[in-house]
């Protein structure tokens, strides 16, 4: 039975088992850990990371990488705050503009990467500097956002049994997740992204529009990172230029833990969802424990990433030997 399992699903399966084990262990160890409330909080607290990580999944599946997402989140939250608080825009007008800016940055980076054949890593690094600089130039101080619309969105949600709260952030996360699954698995574009990550040269020969697809994944990533930034501004009710530092690494780690191959072509969005939840669960564990310090999060995530990379390494060898 296990032998017949698609080896591509194995990392996702390992992640899922790990997630369940971690949750059960936490539920046994701590009072109140094994509740629907904790699960729902996982979604609410990590909504912005999850949305960003889904964008990152597209990029990594296509064989690229996007280091600018953390800075784009900061820039988006600051731009939101500036437009709403200082310029007096209505959030419904400001949010599309902010998301459009994220998409535009993604478009420029994608064009540079595709047209001039530059390395994604260094171009998105420049994008990261650029977005972070724009955010600091807009405002160095944290700007609190006080607007009726923000209160309404933050108060919007569904009360579930056990005082669990399904908030608007979590709902946006679910919506993005479903859209991502639809795009990747039920449209032609999704197939193009997988093909591009599998082998760019042969996919070009097969008639995959390589340029369009490559630019598209960076636009998607920029759009989703900006969306994550907007969700973050809802979550913190403020915009701050120094928020989201190192978030690109968290997003990449979530994608890797979710079983997506960093060389591209193999992976699933639901793996990324599980990866985000595992990272959230580790943080929840540490806050429940109280004696552990937050830096353990970094070490545990580092070890997990390492373990999954080694697992993938063995796996890709297995896949490689099968094809020859």
């Amino acid at each position: 039975m296990i032998l017949r399992l698609n080896p591509r699903l194995l990392p996702v399966l390992v992640t899922a088992i790990l997630l369940v084990l971690l949750f059960v262990a936490g539920a046994i160890r701590f009072d109140g850990f094994g509740s629907l409330r904790v699960v729902m909080n996982l979604f609410t607290d990590n909504a912005f990371l999850g949305i960003t990580a889904i964008g990152m999944t597209f990029v990594i599946l296509s064989g690229g990488i996007d280091l600018s997402v953390g800075a784009v989140i900061a820039f988006s939250s600051v731009l939101c705050a500036v437009l709403i608080e200082q310029q007096g825009w209505h959030p419904l007008l400001a949010i599309p503009v902010v998301i459009g800016c994220g998409a535009l940055l993604g478009l420029v980076m994608g064009m540079l990467i595709h047209c001039y054949n530059m390395q994604a890593f260094i171009v998105t690094l420049a994008g990261m500097f650029f977005a972070r600089a724009l955010a600091t130039i807009l405002s160095e101080q944290s700007i609190p956002i006080e607007h009726g619309f923000y209160d309404a969105v933050n108060n919007f949600g569904i009360m579930l049994p056990g005082r669990a709260w399904l908030g608007s952030g979590a709902m946006i996360f679910f919506l993005v997740f479903l859209l991502a699954i639809w795009l990747l698995h039920y449209t032609r574009t999704g197939g193009f992204i997988y093909a591009l990550g599998g082998n760019a040269a042969s996919s070009a020969l097969m008639g995959v529009p390589v340029g369009r697809t490559r630019v598209l994944v960076y636009v998607l990533s920029g759009t989703l990172a900006a969306t994550g930034g907007v969700v973050y501004s809802f979550y913190t009710a403020s915009g701050y230029a120094l928020s989201g530092i190192g978030l690109e690494l968290d997003a990449i780690a979530a994608v890797v833990i979710g079983g997506t191959l960093l060389s591209g072509g193999i992976g699933y969005v639901h793996g990324t969802l599980l990866g985000v939840l595992i990272m959230g669960l580790i943080q929840t564990w540490i806050s429940f424990d109280g004696t552990l310090n937050s830096w353990w999060t970094k070490i545990v995530i580092g070890v997990l990433v390492l373990a999954f990379i080694c697992l993938q390494h063995g796996l890709s060898r297995q896949l490689g030997s099968k094809s020859t």
Binding site: L112, Q119, L125, F130, R132, I137, A253, N293, W295, I309
Partner: protein, 338 residues
């Protein structure tokens, strides 16, 4: 004369050095006292020395990074290694084993271990360099926090502080350390076959393997050298502020180091490299930062200008852009003529 001119303008040093001179010249107009040097208390003071001194840690990183990038890799963990080394040294200085020799050796050893881990992941496990070094980049700051027990550890130790604030032969110690490391590594890669091996691995790992180059050993060694350089940079930074801050020590410096190597004209895909050009790249970044400060532009613009410089340098290196640029130029000339 013409031949000499041609040789100079076509040297790889030409554009980076011109850029550096241009930035320095701009300062002459902004602040006339920029080039003044002063000899006081057995040390040279002045803006130029400041640029060298402030750029020293990044220069060390860039020297190690050039070798790693030449093999087609990249080392993202150097910032975290700086934090780890700082934490190791600061804690040792506060313990009973505070002999300078032990502290420096163990600090270097920490960097070597980090480099060895990176190198093993890249060479023996065949993991992509970005990912392999990402692990230590994420976990490294956690480890440094663990060593520091979440505190910022301060110390007072004259011998160790000398690394950061002392002076040798009138020059600040960090500058002297960079010069020594640059000279030593230059000899190592240019007077032995190692440099050739590194470039061969970067150009084509498979071909160099078939030609009998021990690819894995070469890769392992460059990551170890990069780890050692990062450890030295970490000690300079720690000695400079006489404390170890696991969160902020060396933050973003890996990016500056990579940027310096790119500005120095090395391709990120590997192959040809030059340690001297990478150090000039660091000086360009540092001089640019100083210029921005001196000219009264808000420091927030530093990062913005840096990002635009990266894109400009990458564009200038891209073959397609060169072609388009030449076409535009010749089109312009033709229109003028007509």
């Amino acid at each position: 004369m013409n031949k000499l001119f041609h040789q100079i303008t076509h040297s790889r040093l030409y554009w980076p050095v011109m850029a550096l001179l241009l930035i320095l010249l701009a300062n002459l107009f902004i602040s006339p006292g920029f080039f003044e040097l002063e000899f006081r208390d057995g040390r040279v003071y002045g803006s130029l020395v400041d640029i060298l001194n402030r750029g020293a840690p990044v220069a060390l990183l860039a020297i190690g990074m050039s070798l790693v990038i030449a093999t087609g890799g990249v080392d993202l963990s150097v910032g975290a290694v700086i934090a780890i080394t700082g934490a190791v040294c600061a804690n040792l200085l506060n313990s009973s084993a505070d002999s300078l020799f032990i502290v420096i050796s163990l600090g270097l050893f920490a960097g070597l271990v980090a480099g060895f881990i990176n190198g093993s992941l890249v060479s023996f496990l065949g993991i992509q360099p970005i990912v392999a070094t990402l692990v230590l980049m994420v976990a490294g700051r956690g480890i440094a926090q663990l060593i520091n027990n979440g505190q910022i550890i301060t110390f007072s130790h004259e011998g160790f502080a000398f690394l950061g604030v002392g002076s040798v032969l009138g020059l600040p110690t960090p500058v002297v350390i960079v010069l020594v490391v640059l000279a030593a590594l230059h000899c190592l890669v240019r007077f032995t076959a190692l440099g050739l091996f590194i470039e061969a691995v970067g150009c084509n790992p498979r071909a160099s393997h078939l030609a009998g180059v021990h690819v894995n050993a070469v890769k392992l060694s460059v990551y170890c050298i990069s780890g050692l350089c990062a450890a030295l940079a970490g000690m300079i930074i720690t000695a400079d502020i006489q404390g170890a801050d696991a969160n902020n020590a060396g933050l973003w410096l890996e990016l500056d180091a990579i940027l310096a190597v790119v500005i120095g004209g090395s391709a990120l895909t590997g192959g040809r490299f030059s340690l001297l050009l990478s150090v000039i790249g660091v000086l360009i970044i540092q001089a640019l930062g100083t210029t921005i400060l001196v000219s009264g532009i808000a420091p927030q613009y530093n990062l913005l200008i840096k990002s635009l410089v990266i894109v400009a340098v990458l564009l200038l290196q891209a073959p397609l852009f060169k072609q388009q640029f030449k076409q535009q130029l010749s089109g312009l000339v033709r229109r003028r003529a007509a």
